[in-house]
């Protein structure tokens, strides 16, 4: 369906996209995940034809799109801030793309109503765009992008501006909807929760390059680098040297899974794998802040040496702030990452 071949975009000195290769198969939902400035929005603009490439190619169904202007690419794009046309009502916004494609008025009206139904806004066709809430605008924008039946639907931070509960509900709705319609989707977001809930495949970007590609589970379980691990929210990363099944770190010796490559590396211990025991067991730490997270408590631990550790534990097991504890590491929650190379 979509293929990027060494796509490169430069803004002056800065390279926003650095020889990116990416493929999206039919009916696949791919989510590009990365911090702001990582080039993910530029990626969408390149595919849409809103941004010209400085190198490489964009192929849709195998055809090079270099000479195809934006309005002939037959794609859908939902903008981060919706960009609904303020001078048209909701129905006319949804029908806009159909009108551009010369669909008859009766057919347009029928389809606009149908799509507004689909996104959960039945009968909203006559409503002014300014009178819609943020969530409703989002839905209208989605209906507008879907209306011309694009071969590829692109979403730029689709749920970015909504509050948390609405976001969590909409993610599920979107995934169900896309599955039912068989839509091919390329979405970008900085929110890992959104990406993991929505995507068949996640692409993590950093500084215009792809840092990792995989299913949500793969990325979550085996981050490809310290960057990806930190981006996913894992801060327990230290430099280490692996010999056999143990690694030397500033936190002392830590057991690593069998078959881990030897030599210098970065070591990640997920917070769930940081076990808190009596002061005499393992690494001595002072308990810092405790943050209540609902079903668990996040505890910051200050070892005598090395960076702070974050641990997850049940509320009743959580040590008091200021207490001295000992820490051991669970090998199942330990991941060996490649060494931090020069950037």
């Amino acid at each position: 369906m979509l293929a990027l071949d060494a796509a490169t975009v430069r803004f002056g000195e800065r390279t926003a996209l650095d020889a990116v290769d990416l493929e999206v198969a039919d009916h696949e939902i791919v989510c590009v995940l990365g911090p702001s400035g990582s080039g993910k929005s530029t990626l969408l603009r390149v595919v849409a034809g809103l941004q010209r490439l400085d190198g490489g190619r964009v192929l849709l169904d195998g055809a090079d799109q270099a000479a195809v202007p934006v309005h002939r690419r037959g794609l859908g794009l939902m903008f981060q801030d919706h960009q609904l046309f303020p001078h048209r009502d909701a129905g006319a916004n949804v029908a806009f793309g159909l009108r551009m494609h010369g669909v008859s008025r009766a057919e347009r009206d029928r389809r606009a109503d149908e799509l507004l139904d689909l996104v959960g806004l039945p009968g909203a066709g006559r409503r002014a765009v300014a009178a819609l809430s943020g969530g409703e605008q989002q839905r209208v924008a989605l209906a507008r992008a879907l209306a011309p039946r694009p071969k590829l639907l692109m979403l730029d931070e689709p749920l970015g501006q909504l509050d948390r509960s609405l976001r969590e509900r909409l993610v599920v709705e979107l995934r169900t909807l896309f599955g039912r319609l068989g839509t091919t989707v390329l979405a970008v977001t900085h929110d890992q929760g959104e990406a993991f809930a929505l995507a068949d495949r996640v692409v993590v970007m950093r500084d215009g390059r792809i840092a990792q590609t995989g299913t949500p589970l793969e990325v979550w379980q085996r981050p490809a680098s310290a960057f990806v691990a930190r981006f996913l929210g894992f801060d327990n990363v230290v430099g280490a040297t692996v010999t056999g099944t143990a690694a030397d770190t500033v936190w002392g010796k830590v057991a690593v899974p069998d078959g881990s490559p030897g030599g210098r590396c970065e070591l990640l211990v997920r917070p769930a794998g940081v076990r808190i025991g009596g002061p005499e067991d393992g690494l001595r730490c002072t308990v810092g802040a405790r943050t209540f997270r609902g079903h668990h408590v996040a505890v910051t631990l200050r070892p005598d040496e090395g960076p702070d550790l974050e641990a997850e534990c049940a509320l009743r097991d959580a040590p008091d702030e200021g207490a001295t504890v000992g820490v051991t590491f669970d090998v199942a929650e330990t991941v060996v990452l490649p060494p931090a190379g020069p950037r």
Partner: protein, 572 residues
């Protein structure tokens, strides 16, 4: 699982929204210069060329520039008097206007009261009124046999007060619109935040509101100064022989004394002064564009509460009544006040040429038709030229384009008399022999219309989010189609407002038209001035009647505008 977002990498700095596409900047420049071509050609041919030619005629003998004449003219005591008076009255008018209009700006911005819309239209009427009508109206109140003369025997038409009051009348709306427009959009919560932090009511206003308003006040003051510095019609009618501004003096030197060198020097002086004012204005406007928290004006206005606020509202209403409604009312009254009691005698007299002796070759009433036709053509020209210029200026760009921006404002300040006379001496030979053509008048009138069109269109065009166009493109709209579907509907209102302003100022243009309108085709302001120049009750009454008609035409077009205008569209 904790899925809370955590940003680890720091984003690279300098990632702005205004990213330009690589090819877009090159093609964008080409498009921009293409758009600028028509306005540049128009201003070059119909503004720069006549002005330069007439200055050249005054300052060149046998192909040699005589710059020594500048010094000679500028050391003449009578000229120095004119310069001094011009500057003094402009400063005094500006100060007086701010003093009287700032409370009005506050009331319009922060108070909600019945009839506000209508009142806003009423205070704006003077601004689009022809200067000749303003002069006539004040003459009817303050002049010999005028309203005050009859009541108390007070006459002000030979004093400078008449000029100053007429200038306040004329420019009240500039301050109320420019300052009040911004004031109504300032978020009151900013002031509330200061109050919570411990600032008193006055301190909060002084530290929060005033700094936000200051650039708007400065911009309004500069516009008022510009308009009053170059005042012509008002001073011509109310000033008498005693008071003369630069513009009036240029007219006198050109048309009556035929002293072109002096007129040329004065034109240059006015040009330099206006250029200076515009440069300062451009700076303040740019500063005004700094980020302010703006909110919907509808949210900031409250009904007045307490005795103090009601007294303020009452005071402003009284000011508007005395300053604006009374002169216009007296004008209408005089036009109906024939020797045989109230009636339409003067209006009927307008239908025949010989009623006013040898003043006209045609019935004065024909001037209405002429004026409307000229103004319509002038509006069309101003819309095309100004619209293209505004489109070229939409994308922010370097100093070249900013210079172009300032250049477009120049016709507001450069002597209209010079332009008019310049038309006569430059556009009289092939290939551009327009001296006998009717198009000359609309061309001159369009020159003053263009700045209004640009100022009205530009903020709206700039406010159109480029990504709306992108959204349309992704949905299958070609670039032209996207422009038609997105830009055009969004700027349609502004376009109508711009057309209305251009129409009103074209209708009232006097300085240039008085030179180039043919005797058998006078415009309304020219006919009024001609009638006022004759003695006799019938001529005076007819002048009042014609002015009333002109006022009604302007007021009606303005009231139509008021229905469609959004307060955000532009500065005027």
């Amino acid at each position: 699982m904790v899925l809370a977002r955590r940003e680890v990498a720091t984003p690279p700095a300098g990632r702005g929204r205004g990213r330009k596409t690589g090819h877009g900047s090159v093609r964008g420049n080409a498009v921009r210069f293409g758009l600028m071509a028509v306005p540049v050609a128009f201003f070059g041919l119909f503004f720069a060329y006549p002005v330069v030619a007439i200055v050249g005629r005054g300052l060149r003998t046998d192909g040699v520039w005589q710059f020594g004449r500048i010094g000679q003219v500028l050391s003449r005591p009578d000229i120095l008097d004119v310069l001094r008076f011009t500057t003094w009255q402009a400063l005094a008018s500006t100060a007086l206007t701010l003093l009287i209009a700032l409370p009005g700006a506050y009331v319009f911005a922060r108070f909600d009261f019945p009839g506000k819309q209508l009142l806003r239209a009423v205070v704006t009427v003077p601004f689009v009124l022809p200067t000749v009508v303003v002069g006539t109206a004040f003459l009817a109140v303050l002049g010999r046999g005028g309203f005050l003369d009859e009541l108390w025997g007070v006459r002000l038409d030979t004093s400078v007060w008449a000029i100053l009051l007429a200038h306040v009348f004329f420019n009240y709306a500039v301050v109320v619109r420019t300052v009040g427009g911004l004031w109504s959009q300032l978020d009151p919560r900013q002031e509330e935040a200061a109050r919570v932090l411990g600032a008193g009511r006055l301190a909060a206003w002084r530290r929060v509101t005033l700094p936000a308003l200051a650039p708007a006040v400065a911009a309004a003051a500069l516009m008022v100064f510009l308009f009053t510095f170059t005042s012509f019609g008002v001073v011509q009618i109310l000033g008498g022989p005693a008071y003369s501004t630069l513009e009036v003096e240029i007219y006198r030197q050109t048309a009556q004394l035929l002293d072109l060198p002096t007129a040329a020097v004065l034109t240059l002086v006015q040009f330099a002064a206006v250029g200076g004012i515009l440069a300062v204005h451009a700076r303040t406007v740019r500063r005004r564009e700094t980020a302010l928290r703006l909110v919907d004006p509808a949210q900031t206005a409250r009904p007045p509460r307490g005795a103090g606020q009601r007294a303020l509202l009452g005071g402003v209403l009284l000011t508007v009544l005395l300053l604006i409604v009374v002169p216009l009312g007296v004008l209408v009254e005089r036009s109906l006040d024939t020797s045989g009691g109230y009636g339409f005698g003067f209006y009927r007299a307008l239908q025949s040429a010989d009623a006013s002796g040898s003043t006209f070759l045609v019935p004065p009433l024909e001037a209405i038709g002429n004026s409307l036709q000229y103004a319509a053509v002038a509006t069309l020209i101003a819309l095309v030229v100004g619209g293209l210029a505004a489109a070229a200026l939409t994308r922010r760009a370097g100093p070249l384009v900013r210079g172009f921006d300032a250049l477009l404002m120049l016709p507001l300040g450069v002597s209209a008399v010079t332009v008019g006379f310049g038309f006569l001496i430059t556009l009289d030979e092939p290939p551009l022999d327009l001296r006998t053509s009717w198009i000359l008048v609309p061309l001159a009138q369009a020159l003053v219309g263009v700045p209004f069109v640009v100022r009205t269109m530009l903020p709206v065009l700039r406010a159109v989010d480029g990504r709306l166009r992108e959204a349309a493109a992704v949905l299958g709209a070609s670039p032209l189609r996207a422009w038609r579907e997105v830009d055009l509907p969004l700027v349609r209102r502004a376009l109508l407002v711009a057309a209305g302003f251009a129409f009103a100022v074209s209708l009232g243009e006097f300085g240039a038209t008085v030179f180039i309108a043919r005797p058998d085709n006078p415009t309304l302001p020219v006919a009024v001035a001609r009638l006022l120049g004759r003695s006799g009750e019938l001529n005076y009454g007819q002048a009042m009647a014609l002015s009333t008609i002109l006022m009604l035409v302007c007021a009606v077009s303005l009231l139509l505008l008021e229905r469609i205008r959004t307060d955000r569209s532009g500065e005027f």
